[in-house]
Amino acid sequence: MIPELGHFALLAALAVAIIQGTFPFVGVWRRDARLMAVGVSAAQAQFVLILIAYACLTWAFVERDWSVAYVAANAHSQLPLMYRISAVWGAHEGSMLLWVLILAGWSAAVSLFSRSLPADVQAQVLAVLGALAVGFLLFILLTSNPFDRIFPVPEDGRDLNPLLQDPGLVIHPPLLYMGYVGFSVAFAFAIAALIGGRLDAAWARWTRPWTTLAWLFLTLGITLGSWWAYHELGWGGWWFWDPVENASFMPWLVGTALIHSLAVTEKRGLLKSWTVLLAILAFALSLLGTFLVRSGVLVSVHAFATDPARGVFILTFLAVVLGIAFALYAWRAPRFAADGELQWLSREGLLLLNNVFLVIAAAAVLIGTLYPLVIDAFGLGKISVGPPYFNAVFIPLTAPLVLFVGLASAVGWKRARWPEVWPRIRLALFIALGVGVCLPWLLHRHIQPAAVAGAFLALWTLIMACEEPWRRWRARGRRGIAQIPRAVWGMTVAHIGLGVWVLGLTFVTLYHIERDVRLGPGQSAEVGAYRFELQSVTPRPGPNYDADQALVVVTRDAEVIARLKPERRRYRAQGTVMTEAAVDHTPLRDLYVALAEPLEGGDWALRIYFKPMMRLVWLGGVLMAIGGLLAASDRRYRLARWAAHPAARIDGVPA
């Protein structure tokens, strides 16, 4: 009964979404305020209905209703409650339901927090979001209904994929989806700007907090995914350039470009059509990511054929959405006039340069991800490009990018001259160079050119990130610091995050030690300055798995540093074996032990890794997200402010 209620709520949500996607447009066209206002109530009603559907599916999981096919496939009677709740988004159908729930959540948020928007802009934004919801709801109802019943009812479920039974994975997909779907708001604003012909500082100011929020969720989601892969996959990697990761990284790169070009559009009235294009691209890449992950093409081009309905639907949806968006763009964008000129040595010039680098980097990732698929689809052979491709392309593209990030904060808007800029960067440049050379030597007694370059870039970014607060402090002391708006603090913290991230990335990549060893109880292995002794391996049963737990004692100079307990778990329902790594960490290094396979004679295979500065990589991601939060909560976004800037309107189009 409850699952049918959920199904019915989804159908009702579809009806409401159709209303939301059409009535406000008609209202704008006929200039009928009542029709325009329909969007607000429709968005909120749609959210409530999808929330009901979502609650019904959760209920089916909590109550272990095996008659629902999706529940039976993704839960088990012994699965702990937390994982039964998170199993709702553990596979395709439920994660699509989560997707539309979040989409409806974003539109409900727009309907609540954008009261200061002009009625026609709000109506158009909500209508675009409603139209997107129609597409996704149809997708769920037609091809992947999570409420389908199964007969005969199985005695027990087939259990959630053990890979997903981890606290990290409980919140990873919702965060990632908040980011992906959040770009739909920026997309909707862009479409509204194209339709209405209004693209001015006010438009950029409305769009910025939404975009920054979506970006910060995506940042957190990717960071958490990386942390999870490191702990759960048992091979100590934190980024694999796996197509699924690339699918989330490409929208992140373009989204990063977007939040910066929005700043230029707001402050200087420049790069208008570029900003709109980026908003469309960021959402396009989010949709493409969904298509890649959800259609099964990544497993194999031919997995696509096992369930063509889903793939074809998403591909068609992608084509329709992007076709309309790009057609509108081609038609309307040339009319957006810039409000001034662009100088290269100015903040907006450097931001544009950064944008170009970010977009090219995203394009390189896109090529590496899609090219093997295209080659395979045309029957030209089966190839794969591994991490070396991505590293070889990505690192040369991002190094200058990082250099410009530091430079841009010393350069003012409009135009700057070298004689002004040089004194501001001189000291930072020398400190970064000096420390950059010393740091690899101090920490690892071994200097590599790449490490010096990485440490220099990281320190340069860190120092220059503090440049603006420092300048304000020197000019006006404590009062200057107190007057710094949150947006500036956000930028400072996010750029510090970037510096920390570059530092961590450089050291962990260049100075890590990875050793796969064979040890019997009582034997030990040396990794770097550390000695790892395997003391014992004992069985330990868990709620729905049986584990072998090892005790590894780590010593350095005969002093015990850590007692690590890595596990190897065998999940009863599917017989799957999972590795649960044990990590001892300080900010400067991780000691990582994973228990691999049992060998003859009581010996075990173990992976023992020394990873310097591993934590900094994730700390950097978290700092960027905190920066985003600070920037998005700046008070000027909260002030109801709507000043008509007629400058950017398209002639002849009624406002």
């Binding site: 053990p162 048992g234 997995a303 170009v356 390189a364 490009v385 591994g386 070396p388 074996v577 295979a605």
Partner: protein, 165 residues
Amino acid sequence: MTKRQQRMTAVAALVLGIGVAAALAFTAFRKNMMYFYTPTDLVAQAVPAGAKIRLGGLVVAGTLQRGEGLDVRFTVADCEQSVPVRYSGILPDLFREGQGIVATGRVGPDGVFMADEVLAKHDENYMPPELAEKLVAADGRHSCAEFSRPVMGRRPAIADRPSQS
């Protein structure tokens, strides 16, 4: 600078940027592209010396041998041919005899495939998709009898035929 000059500089910078990126991408592609081979492909056509490739096949039951430390040897086969593989390292959790795997590495001068990496997916009945396409009949079964019984567990079954050639 006039507007026109400015636009031209912008376009030139963009073209240059894309050019550099494309050049980087293509060199990296050429260096890191790996072709997929089945054992039959490997026997039929010569692999360029030293080229890194991916080899996909089913692990023949009873061929897994452990040596010093983490050294292992096993044989990978499809319906027609088989290739000996040598690997030093930790096998994936789901490595099983009779199961499909993909190994990355190079063919040694003695014809033994020296694997740098061995992959198996988290699924009991997993087969590399490229291989499945070549081996699996329309009804979802392997088209050759030898592997039609899934071999469970790691313990080497008493092999009725050590290896076919």
